[in-house]
Amino acid sequence: MKVKITAFGIAKDIVGGKHLELEVNGQELSLVRKDLISQFPDFEKLASLKFAVNTNYVDDSYQLNENDEVVLIPPVSGG
């Protein structure tokens, strides 16, 4: 399935833009992580990489739905 991805912070620099589309072979979010790392090995250097869907943190076992927007959350540093 086609997955829409939005990137913030250093993730935006790594993928080279705020928005990205990825074609993954299945519904589990873990596939998105795998594909991202293989396309952009710099993700492996981050202290962490979390995902959010619909403004909620989700873990890698999350099953993607059509039209889900996956947001890449590199280590936060507010405050």
Partner: protein
């Protein structure tokens, strides 16, 4: 003014204090996170904050709700600035009030600690010779 608020304008401590003030709540604690002029002895020119705003507001609201219920606060406000923030200006202000001071201190410290762990806001330190996303790398 909103209690949970993200803005590119300058923050106001007084506005935050006014929002939590209450005649039944004698103990008011405010945390102000200002932009420092250096990090590990390297001179910083300014910070640049980016937020995933709808989620950041939601996570900030969660922190305030948890703090209010756990410490029985009268109220808590969290204001965060985004965009370029010059040295010496406020990046974040958290204020809370409760009948007794101990609860306000504990809740305010919990809130800033948690904000730094969960709220999707990112800061870039801008130096004369480059820039760095804070905490990105181990």
């Amino acid at each position: 003014m909103e209690k949970i608020y993200i803005t590119s304008d300058r923050l106001s401590s007084q506005a935050c204090i006014d929002l939590v003030s209450d005649n039944g709540s004698g103990g008011l604690v405010v945390f102000i996170g200002n932009v420092r002029n250096k990090t590990k002895d390297k001179a910083v020119q300014y910070l640049d904050f980016e937020s995933y705003e709808p989620m950041a507001l939601k996570e900030m609201q969660k922190i305030a709700d948890e703090a209010v219920s756990r410490w029985n606060l009268h109220d808590m406000v969290i204001h965060h600035r985004v965009g370029k923030v010059p040295i010496g200006e406020e990046a974040v202000i958290i204020a809370c009030s409760s009948p007794h001071r101990k609860e306000s201190f504990a809740a305010c410290e919990f809130a800033i600690d948690t904000l730094k762990e969960t709220v999707p806001i990112w800061k870039k330190e801008v130096f004369e010779d480059g820039e760095v996303w804070v905490s990105a790398h181990p």
